[in-house]
Assembly symmetry: D2
Amino acid sequence: MSEIGIGVVGGGYMGKAHSVAMAAVGAVFGTTLRPRLEMIAASSAESAERYRAAFGFARATGDWRELVADPRVEAVVIATPQELHLEIAEAAFARGLPVMCEKPMGASLDEAEAMVRAAEGHVSMVGYNYVRTPATQFARKLVADGEIGDVTWFRGEHTEDFLADPQAPASWRTSGDANGTIGDLSPHMINCALALLGPIASVNAEIATVHGIRPGGEVTNDDHAQFMCRFASGVMGHLYFSRVATGRKMGYAYEITGTKGAIRFDQEDQNALWLYRAEGPEAERGFRKILTGPAHPDYEPFCLGPGHGTGYQDQIIIEARDFLQAIETGAPVWPTFADGLEVMRIIDAARRSAETRAWVDMAL
Amino acid sequence: MSEIGIGVVGGGYMGKAHSVAMAAVGAVFGTTLRPRLEMIAASSAESAERYRAAFGFARATGDWRELVADPRVEAVVIATPQELHLEIAEAAFARGLPVMCEKPMGASLDEAEAMVRAAEGHVSMVGYNYVRTPATQFARKLVADGEIGDVTWFRGEHTEDFLADPQAPASWRTSGDANGTIGDLSPHMINCALALLGPIASVNAEIATVHGIRPGGEVTNDDHAQFMCRFASGVMGHLYFSRVATGRKMGYAYEITGTKGAIRFDQEDQNALWLYRAEGPEAERGFRKILTGPAHPDYEPFCLGPGHGTGYQDQIIIEARDFLQAIETGAPVWPTFADGLEVMRIIDAARRSAETRAWVDMAL
Amino acid sequence: MSEIGIGVVGGGYMGKAHSVAMAAVGAVFGTTLRPRLEMIAASSAESAERYRAAFGFARATGDWRELVADPRVEAVVIATPQELHLEIAEAAFARGLPVMCEKPMGASLDEAEAMVRAAEGHVSMVGYNYVRTPATQFARKLVADGEIGDVTWFRGEHTEDFLADPQAPASWRTSGDANGTIGDLSPHMINCALALLGPIASVNAEIATVHGIRPGGEVTNDDHAQFMCRFASGVMGHLYFSRVATGRKMGYAYEITGTKGAIRFDQEDQNALWLYRAEGPEAERGFRKILTGPAHPDYEPFCLGPGHGTGYQDQIIIEARDFLQAIETGAPVWPTFADGLEVMRIIDAARRSAETRAWVDMAL
Amino acid sequence: MSEIGIGVVGGGYMGKAHSVAMAAVGAVFGTTLRPRLEMIAASSAESAERYRAAFGFARATGDWRELVADPRVEAVVIATPQELHLEIAEAAFARGLPVMCEKPMGASLDEAEAMVRAAEGHVSMVGYNYVRTPATQFARKLVADGEIGDVTWFRGEHTEDFLADPQAPASWRTSGDANGTIGDLSPHMINCALALLGPIASVNAEIATVHGIRPGGEVTNDDHAQFMCRFASGVMGHLYFSRVATGRKMGYAYEITGTKGAIRFDQEDQNALWLYRAEGPEAERGFRKILTGPAHPDYEPFCLGPGHGTGYQDQIIIEARDFLQAIETGAPVWPTFADGLEVMRIIDAARRSAETRAWVDMAL
């Protein structure tokens, strides 16, 4: 067993999640590589110190460059606004450090491409935590093993309602493409669709701002969007993303139809996977609600009892385990920056499709 | 109270449903006009006689023309294959009889248009029974009354799995546009979308045959289809139709998002409507599962107890009541043939969209 | 095919349900014996005439004795308050007529016993409609066929909330044992338990009035009750009945645990049966939600499409079919008056148990 | 901020859970007192060393006495079999250390009483983690605040199926009262009932062994049990416990009925609380599914997004926070050993009730 000094840049929502994960992952998974919470960076020395104390890091800094340059920092987690992703990643890779970066990669397709170039020869990973629930890992395995036959249809959504109220004021969230719904919410479910069904070949998208004016100013990015898509396998699909989906809190949900079965999942009940098998007497067929348990991927380290459930933070702990394994083996771990770039390319194609009101072929 | 002689053409699935409805509607609703099961027609005298005996009609005939011409037949229900709809309707209207016709209207857009012309000045009605459940009637009222605010998104589907098995043999169902998924399944949910949100302004569709070859021959119509659409109100929407949706038995389902609330419904649990209201303390918000009862439209005649539930046949009985009312008042009842034509126009636009891979504007 | 003249006594809630059922059953099931709605009786000539017109009977009377004595009345349905059940049944049996009587049988155990004596040699049936849903019929078959192995536990409830509001006024419902919760609500679920698991051997009950005073007067019967019970098979069970179960509209629900599987059902979603089978890979086990369809008992006559659903009224139609079959064959049909008496005996034992605060053995 | 040296006795299921919680609690809650994983004890030096390495403790020992005596151990978590609870607790209290002990307290009522005596003047806590989910904490608050009015009925269960298979072999689980269903499973839900509704005044129980013989030997403890109970408030209740509940994985579930509303919860979907309010138009009433989020107790430290969910391990982290707070303030934290004793007393009363087949009054 050996130690590795972790530097986390950003102490907000995801910065905290990664810090807790790094504190817990060793005990949960008994990893041979053990994270040492070495340094945390934030936008000011004061906030960084506050995060340090709260999360249990050894040191703090108001300058991320100091963190990246520190000799005791041996791996970097980037949990800042997207605008900083590229610069920090380049600096970390320049030192040869492994980097886990929160989604989306960079603030634009160009930046994402630059990040992939910078990552070459290094360990990189994008923070798509939701595909790591035991339920979705199991769904992925069922599909890959052909358990539901040939897939014929996929429907995915990521819907929340944090801006559903038209009176919610304009803010940083309501300007900048990267903060809009397809910039901010869509990457998780696009990544999930790729994980479950493989590459997307073409898209036909609509992107819209529902509430153009909010108290405090104009809204300059999108509220919701839908994509019709075709996977490279020929499967027809549909994706929907919304931050104005009244009533939806964590509507990361998908349906997969196959010739021999079907799967349904909704993150709002993340410990259940619904499976239908077109077999046995007609009178006994139905979607079964499978509760995750030790029989499913990465569940048992959290609890020996089935149905006892894992939660949001546990997904980040699984992600931390994967990052540590990548570091130990030197091998890239899915999704790498290159994988994350594919998500950005699909978003870019969707933007072009919405503008031209036409199908966009990913191969072109 | 007075009587009216009913003639039903067709004794299969829907012919039986309408016959039962005509037998029961008086007792259920205490209608002032009472149906008398006068005559049933089928493709042969033998099968007609069998239906007559089973359903309780006074007379039977193997020739629908005889039925339409019979002086004791005062209203006609058409429940034949689509190919016959136009001819029968024209003959009935020529005699000045009220006509209820099963969906879809005619076998093509041209036929549907001819049916509308023939219906002018007469009582006509299309058999869209599903919009008549107490739950969907209530949803329609909630939306119309602005209870969920301005609608911002609609998603509808009609998915079943009766041809999901690739080994299901080729049959009449697998040839002919009118028998394909958008010809046969899509009209109900398109009608529902129109009922709930008003006119559709444009569509962008994909239509596909998943299993091109089946035991016994080639499949020449579609297995599933998706439409992106815009309502005239500007609301973005999505529709999906499938007869290969493994696991789905009666997936007539919709979600309506508004600025003040949201609604969810699935015909597989037709006695529940899910309503979310963006009001009250955040900690107490959630979709509530409303069980239909006497407080909802057209429930109480079936049962005084809430949550006791209505079923498929009851929808047809409600429809029969509406048809009788239209006859009594002489006024058309939604959806008339003209309303039904709108569904056919949308299907036609979708076909053109799928061919051209482009948006089609309904106004053009 | 032959006709039978039906006389219905009572035109309220259940009187209407049976009248509609008699109007529809022939067309639905194609019965060889066809009901003719001959006469309806109510507490006054005026209300009887109103029911006659509404439901479509040939004649009406304000005196049930006239109905029972009428030569054209060939079968009697009793849907009056319990206090009249015995007298009407005795008169009908005296004329040799078949009798269907609404539950509970009589207003007391003594009356129920007298009804059984009167029914000897005649066709009798008690109106336990809920056991006739396709879902519960299927559950009964699964249990009987050993599909869930040896049963080890049963939990049933019948809970509604029509008197949950403490401000709901005192009325006929709040006085008289027969109108209390165990008098009025419990018989259905007790009958269901007997149907599913066989005889009950002993009970230990608590019976309580939650709101002793209501606007308008004192409450002199019970609001809710629970029974621990042992079936003759040794299976442990629990039953709960309540008319003050806030939020429950039709909580006729049960869970059956077996060594090889388990079943769950809730009448509030009467078209679904939940089945768990302890077989196959652990990772794929879960309760499956089976939607009723043509593969289940008595569904297909109502609709050819699975998942399209039956409702409350349809149960009464199934019951009417069973009554007609009993009349045709002369054979008793479950549950006969003798079967219904067993329910009354259990209620009586529960009352004694609640008074003595001790187990009561049914055999004593 | 200061540190406290934690000693954990036992490295199995719960020993791991508490170790992970102690590793994570500081970062999650920003506690002022920070646990230092000082020492872990197990039944042998080898297994202790394995646990030490896996969970990240500084030291290990095969003798719990050494741990309790160690000057750097400042608080003790007991996660051993029940037989050792008393002895370890006494030794720790003798040194003046705060003790958190897993349920049930001791192997018998006598031992539990001795533990309470030993705990006097010290910080003690029993590990009832399930009452600490955000959903159940919120339910408790709703009830306490009178949000559902006066409670009239409570039903709770803790059902699992780990011994549902009759062919599961005899083991330590199948002998010894403390390992039976009421010894092992019932304490959690009894504690929950007390937390939600206050003291239980009397019980009437049935306790049974379903499978008396298993491969490998006789079963000498109970498989399932039911209690009718009355709370001190007069509320009627029912509790059911089973380890043979085929299909149930974590059936820790309850229903609370009140005069103004009702609550339902099932740990198998621990991030949802179902609330019914008897207010507003009848047509809009229904149980609402509330997803836990930052608006609910102890959720936000785990995630800022509502509906993103917490899991089993998070409950133990909340528990660790409560234990640390108790240590800091010196004040006892619910449930203390004295609270835990009440659970043991109810179990004892239930055993006596089952033997005598009679109600047992807790006050006697």
